[in-house]
Symmetry: C2
Subunit: 427 residues, 2 copies
């Protein structure tokens, strides 16, 4: 039973004021001993007994094995290693730490719950499944400044999903070519446009020129349409660069900035969030190396929790029937995690972003799985490929969501909506 085939587990609680983490663990050692080694290594213990680790110190600072539930046994280890055993026991392990070990610090929390433990020789598989921080921790974190309500307000979309798209080609367009592309998308009535994560501040498409040209197009369209679309400008870079580009977007009347989380890190996002007056669109590029092997790394639930605590307003979750290797149930679990309150007093809910091979066909199953429309649904070919043009493509996406909310089959709804009818022939 790997992390991807586990049944739904109850959410972790940090009501006792401690930080809790749940892992899927596979070990060739005695599971109880392996659990104690992990708990020790990530708190007051080390490989050997040290004189200073008194019982009082351990009681004050040691991590606690809260739960160890045995799952199945396998004969081959999921990850190669030095410890060779006849059998490898898989388990669910819950650890807890006193908040006083690191205080309400996200970077230090990460070093504790996901530090030097994946390398342990006792570990032939380890995946962080869930994370819960106490209210005192959440209260000290900035969290998303805009979230769902703020994003809806700035994008002028009171109900339904934000229908979005990504500027393509990803790189290589000049600032003016980028603005021309944006102009066409805006004329089609799109709600949300984002830079590709590969588009940064290269010499052929300098950020300031691109932002200025794009925002000119945005304002022109807003004047014509009475509603300003949201454009997420990729400001990924060093802290001072991000702040400066953020200020530039703000000065130009823009309403969103984007960063690649794995590129800037928690300290990078926190520095931006402490400065930002705009929603932060958080891209997860690189997520594959953190998650692609089921017996190693991170589930999305704990990972996105760190970034929401740090201030991400929108979080990418891939999409149903996507073009990548992720299964649909994993995509839905990720989106549900983004929409689940982190803490009763500090829910810090963010907006999931669905993208990758998306069309209106994914509207109904996405809505059915989430029960809401608080999301960004980004489509490229699903919109641009419409034979009636971009406006018809956007309209077809919207009508697909109207049908999904009403519980009406797409084919039925399409009878009254020719753009949707036409789209159904190409999707």
């Amino acid at each position: 039973m790997t992390p991807s085939t586990l049944p739904d587990l109850p959410p972790l609680s940090a009501a006792d004021g401690r930080v809790h983490a749940r892992y899927w663990l596979e070990t060739g050692d005695d599971p109880q001993r392996a659990a104690e080694v992990i708990a020790g290594e990530q708190s007051s213990g080390t490989f050997t007994a040290v004189p200073g680790e008194t019982p009082a110190l351990k009681a004050r600072s040691g991590a606690v094995v809260e739960q160890l539930q045995l799952l199945d046994v396998v004969s081959q280890p999921s990850l190669p290693g030095i410890l060779v055993a006849p059998r490898y026991q898989r388990c669910l392990l819950e650890l807890s730490w006193p908040l006083a070990n690191f205080g309400p610090s996200l970077p230090n929390l990460m070093a504790t719950v996901a530090g030097n433990l994946f390398e342990l020789r006792q570990v032939s598989g380890l995946r962080l499944l869930d994370l819960a921080v106490p209210t005192a921790f959440a209260a000290a974190c900035p969290g998303p400044a805009f979230g769902i309500a703020g994003t809806r307000r700035l994008a002028g979309v009171a109900t339904g999903p934000l229908i979005g798209t990504i500027i393509k080609p990803s790189v290589g367009l000049s600032p003016q070519e980028t603005a021309d592309t944006v102009r066409q998308l805006l004329a089609g009535g799109i709600d949300f446009i984002k830079d590709d994560e590969l588009q940064a501040d290269g010499p052929h498409c300098p950020f300031d020129q691109r932002a200025a040209a794009v925002m000119q197009a945005v304002h022109a369209a807003a004047q014509a349409q009475g509603k300003q679309a949201m454009v997420a400008f990729n400001i990924t870079g060093e802290v001072d660069e991000m702040r400066r580009r953020h200020d530039q977007v703000l000065a130009l009347g823009g309403t969103c900035v984007m960063v690649s989380l794995n590129s800037v890190g928690l300290a990078g996002l926190l520095a931006l969030r402490r400065h930002s007056q705009l929603p932060i669109h958080a891209h997860r590029c690189g997520w594959g190396y953190l998650s692609r092997h089921p017996a190693l790394g991170w589930d999305y639930a704990p990972w996105q929790a760190l970034w929401r605590l740090a201030g991400a307003d929108h979080l990418h979750v891939n999409g149903l029937a996507n073009k990548f290797s992720e299964a649909d149930d994993s995509v839905i679990a990720a989106a549900r995690a983004v929409l689940r309150p982190l803490d009763a007093a500090h829910p810090m809910v963010a907006m999931p972003v669905f993208s990758s091979g998306q069309t209106g066909l994914q509207a109904a199953p996405t809505h059915a799985a989430l029960g809401c429309t608080d999301l960004i649904h980004a489509a490229g070919g699903g919109i641009l490929g419409h034979p009636g043009g971009i406006a018809a493509g956007v309209s077809a996406m919207r009508e697909a969501w109207v049908a999904a909310e009403a519980g009406v089959p797409l084919a039925d709804h399409a009878r009254q909506h020719p753009a949707l009818a036409q789209a159904l022939q190409t999707w």
Copy 2:
């Protein structure tokens, strides 16, 4: 043939002014097509042809498949995925990008060479093996401000390795208890002491109090010994916190700060480096989730290159015969990578840090593999476990390195060095 069993490959060159990356790739698709998909996805292409991707744009901005060398074929994919095939071809893939795509920006470089490619459905295994940036890129990066020479100068260790240790218990000591531990270590003549990566700025051991108490012990010992040991204070945190703590260490006369790289991210380290006047000791905690499965993620060579470009002076590489799951050849490859110049004009060499279950027994094989002593050798039990006390433990470590450099067997050298002789009975 997995990345860990590949023969030594020639270092990548970026002499053509482009960024080069080498991957180990496993694919159930046609390898040439898979390579083109990866190159396209990480530059101007996307899943489908888009109107704006003109031949001129592609020539300007597209990534190039520089080399595709077929290795072996396997019948089962290394990573689960959606694309099921009768056979999976393993290959070495080298890609290159024009620097103009992202400019000399480390965070955006990371999004390009290690972004949305591990998730591709064509990929059943992908590992970044090596990375080379052109001189123009390196020239724009800060790099280590101190490196080997600066570290030796500040630590007062002109030749031989810095003999170091880690404060244990990792967490739970009060500032005064920490200083007492440091005082004992310093009395033993140790060169280098570091905080554990779990020790941060919690309420039971506030950073400022700990730093002040420890530096008092450091100055007292320096006055007695005529040489100030280097203490790496863990300042991992938000950017402003790191800057403030750095200033505090500097004001107290300290000579080193430490950060957990995966916790602060590239933007975090860069912000610290732009501010710092002290060597930055870089901890890799979390490295296991980036590397533990051989068919996924990062080799150490490209990963450490990013952090050296960003300014890391010391980089952890585990140790020979370590207590974790890493094999010795991987440890040595990591250390060699840290010591290899990044660029002729900007070598940016950093100091490898060996730790985990280390004693003087690892001196000779470590020296034989590296051919130099430009390293920090950190031992806990290997020093503290000496029956003659800490000073004897430090002396035994030093003499083990003297023997290693002279090519004399430890047992022979021990005849003239009783502390070493005693140590050999316990190591």
